[in-house]
């Protein structure tokens, strides 16, 4: 850290000129800011306002006070939808993280065949969720699917028609789709770790497993947090996949919040209550992102400290 001191001094000495320069380029942020305002903030405020109104999408919008909030918050369906949302979030995180981590570490090697495998593993991410859902639905069909076709009785289950199985299938398909992406993040993270650390560890006699737990894992702390944030916040918006795969069923076993919002808003024509759920989703997403940031600590400089 000795080299840092003069730099800091230099920067401090030029504060004024710097501020002036950055002021002159601040306008460059305007397009981004405008887009964020128009497509991010305005709809958000719109939805917030809509949550206090009664509207069927056709006639006039009537103010409804807090009645939507009261009815949604007292709806027994809400705790269930919340539970399913968190269930899928936590379980899919628990499945994806170790697998992506191991795959990422494996793929970080430089051998040529690994590059080939990396491409292969990446394929699921290139497919649209709807296509994936339709494919899996066909494969899992109890009468015409894989199990029936190959005469494998254990595969010919009523996969999407039984509560627990359906949740399991959703988590499996979500993981199948997103593990490639998170493996890629971990692969990048692992390649950032200086090889000198591993060389030093080898000299000290540490084996592969020891190296993994003592060097790789701690060094990947921020990668894990980044990847987890993406998984957790992303899982709040799982919609297309579940919508096509199970449509929230059987019964309402896989009815997550995002699906609940869609069904209320666009199928039942209840825009007010749907907006309440949209606002709840935003709040939950923000809260989760903040919590995960806290877990990661606030500075980003300490990771390479030991190097």
């Amino acid at each position: 850290m000795t080299a840092a001191a003069p730099t800091v001094a230099k920067v401090a000495g030029r504060t004024t000129s710097r501020a002036g320069r950055s002021g002159s380029v601040a306008w460059m942020a305007l397009p981004a800011l405008a887009i964020f305002l128009v497509f991010g903030i305005v709809p958000l405020v719109g939805v917030l306002l809509l949550s206090f109104t009664q509207w069927d999408g056709l006639g006039a919008i009537h103010p409804a006070g807090i009645s939507n909030w009261r009815s949604v918050l007292s709806d027994p369906g809400l705790p269930h939808a919340l539970f399913v949302t968190f269930e899928i979030m936590i379980l899919s995180w628990a499945v994806q993280t170790p697998m992506s981590l191991l795959l990422g570490v494996f793929l970080a090697g430089r051998q040529r065949y690994r590059a080939f495998l990396a491409v292969l593993y990446f394929v699921p991410l290139l497919l649209s969720s709807a296509a994936i859902a339709i494919t899996y639905k066909a494969l899992l069909d109890p009468n015409f699917g894989l199990g029936a076709g190959l005469h494998l009785d254990f595969l010919a289950q009523d996969w999407l028609g039984k509560t627990n199985l359906a949740i399991g299938v959703v988590i499996f398909v979500v993981s199948w789709q997103f593990i490639p992406f998170h493996s890629l993040i971990y692969q990048g993270g692992v390649r950032q770790i200086p090889t000198t650390m591993y060389e030093a560890a080898s000299i000290d006699g540490a084996g592969r497993v020891r190296q993994f737990f003592s060097i790789t894992l701690p060094q990947l702390k921020y990668t894990i947090i980044t990847s987890s944030t993406l998984m957790v916040v992303g899982s709040l918006t799982f919609f297309d996949l579940i919508f096509v795969l199970t449509a929230g069923g059987p019964g309402d076993a896989t009815r997550v919040l995002a699906l609940d919002m869609y069904k209320r808003g666009f199928q039942a024509n209840l825009m007010g209550p749907a907006s309440v759920i949209a606002v709840l989703l935003v709040l939950i997403g923000l809260a989760l992102a903040l919590i995960l940031r806290r877990l990661g600590g606030s500075t980003t400089a300490s990771q390479q400290e030991g190097a």
Binding site: G59, D158, G249, G251, K263, A268
Partner: protein, 450 residues
């Protein structure tokens, strides 16, 4: 896209693709021809918006062409939309006072919403006085879904598609039985089919509205058509009518007796897997819309052409109050006139309805395309059908629709979207056996009149 019965029905209803000429149906992706002009309801002449998708689209285009050729001074301008785009657009456009003069729709709960928002013309007097002949040519049952509070707000047009009990004659030969003559017969057939390893009924339960067709018939056969009519009219606690509870209980009895194919709650109707179960011999019977005939004919190899497909109206319930001639399904498609249009535009639209929507050429075209149009004169056209199976089928559909004392509109379209969504949710749970008939009735009573 997948869950919506409304989508599916609206795409396929009316097409009911049969006859050789229809082999393309079912795969015909609707062409997207979004609105190019912002021709609203004001000033610029009468407009008509309708759906794309063959063979209906060509028939509608031909109607407009004939009208415009005959009336060069008051031409009707059209915009064609894909099903989903139409549903979004028409609602927003009407809400914003930018809707077309002539509104194509499905009647029932949707029409009621337009009426309540004061958006559509009352056509009662016009139909009763000026167009008495047109009115009397249409199946009377088609008017129910066009009527709100005793007044007619839409003219039924296009085609009828009742729900029919299909069966595989080969399956009945295998167990040496006759098609069911009553609900009690159905219940006694169930164990016999199961013994032979044939599922009694195919069902695409994930689509939810498929399950609903069963309740529609059971309610009618046990309690008569007034049970649902009371619910539709908003009568308090209509869902806990003793006949309704009895019907719900019988429904669960059939499910508990393994009446439906294994895994039915994960099968969707959109993929036509339920039809495939019937024509591949895995299931013996299927309750489904008349529109599935074309699909089974197209994909089922010799199932239809070989004469293996049987069909009948839903059998009566012994001791039930319902009229066994009653049916349910889609009694027609509907045209309303915007209340916001100018008088000249309204006149043009009325003239079009009167002269070109159910005229001889149109009726002929519908029958040729394999559907029964909503008019009595359709019967005369049936003799021109050469294919024996098709002729028999079309006659059956005609008779079912024409003889029905009551042709009830599918519940999810008759009710408001809000009530319909609650209904479908609860039906899914009822079929999962996760709620009891009483619980079903209780939660449905909560949305009566909403």
């Amino acid at each position: 896209m997948t869950t919506s019965r409304r989508n599916f029905l609206r795409l396929t209803a009316g097409s009911a693709a049969i006859a050789a000429g229809l082999s393309a149906c079912g795969t015909s992706g609707p062409k997207s021809s979004g609105s190019s002009s912002e021709a609203g309801a004001t000033g610029s002449g009468a407009t008509y918006w309708f759906l794309t998708g063959q063979p209906q689209q060509a028939i509608r285009e031909a109607q407009v062409k004939r009208f415009n050729d005959a009336n060069p001074d008051t031409k009707l301008k059209t915009n064609e939309f894909q099903n989903d785009a139409f549903k979004q657009k028409i609602k927003t456009a009407i809400g914003a006072g930018q809707g077309p003069t002539l509104i194509w729709g499905w009647g029932g709960g949707g029409l009621k919403a337009y009426v309540e928002a004061g958006q559509v013309e009352d056509l009662t007097d016009w139909l009763n006085k000026d167009q008495a002949e047109l009115k009397s040519s249409i199946f009377p049952s088609a008017f129910t879904a066009a009527t709100v509070n005793g007044k007619i707000y839409a003219v039924p047009g296009e085609t009828v598609t009742p729900i029919v009990l299909f069966y595989d004659k080969r399956a009945f030969e295998k167990i040496g039985a006759e098609p069911p003559k009553s609900w009690q017969d159905i219940m006694s057939l169930v164990p016999r089919f199961n013994e032979k390893g044939i599922a009694p009924f195919s069902l695409g339960g994930q689509s939810r509205w498929t399950n609903m067709m069963w309740l529609e018939f059971l309610f009618d056969r046990i309690g008569g058509s007034e049970v649902f009519q009371n619910i539709f009219d908003g009568k308090k606690d209509g869902w806990s009518d003793p006949s309704a509870l009895k019907a719900l209980e019988e429904m669960q009895n059939l499910i508990k007796a393994n009446g439906f194919i294994k895994g039915f709650s994960s099968i969707t109707a959109d993929s036509n897997a339920d039809q495939a179960l019937l024509y591949t011999g895995k299931a013996a019977m299927m309750l489904h819309g008349a529109w599935t005939y074309g699909g089974m004919k197209g994909s089922g190899k010799d199932f239809v052409t070989g004469g293996h497909l049987g069909y009948m109206n839903f059998p009566p319930y012994e001791g039930g109050k319902g009229d066994p001639s009653d049916t349910v399904g889609n009694p027609g498609q509907y045209m309303s006139i915007s209340a916001k249009a100018t008088q000249a535009e309204k006149d043009t639209a009325k003239k079009f309805i009167a002269t070109n929507t159910l005229d001889d050429a149109t009726v002929d075209a519908w029958v040729k395309s394999g559907s029964i149009p909503v008019v009595k004169s359709a019967k005369d056209k049936l003799s021109s059908i050469t294919d024996k199976n098709d002729a028999e089928w079309l006659n059956f559909v005609y008779d079912t629709a024409a003889n029905a004392k009551n042709f009830a509109q599918s519940w999810d379209q008759a009710l408001s979207p809000t009530a319909a969504e609650t209904l479908l949710d609860n039906i899914a749970k009822l079929f999962q056996l996760s709620i009891s008939p009483q619980q079903f009735a209780d939660s449905m009573n909560g949305v009566i009149g909403k």
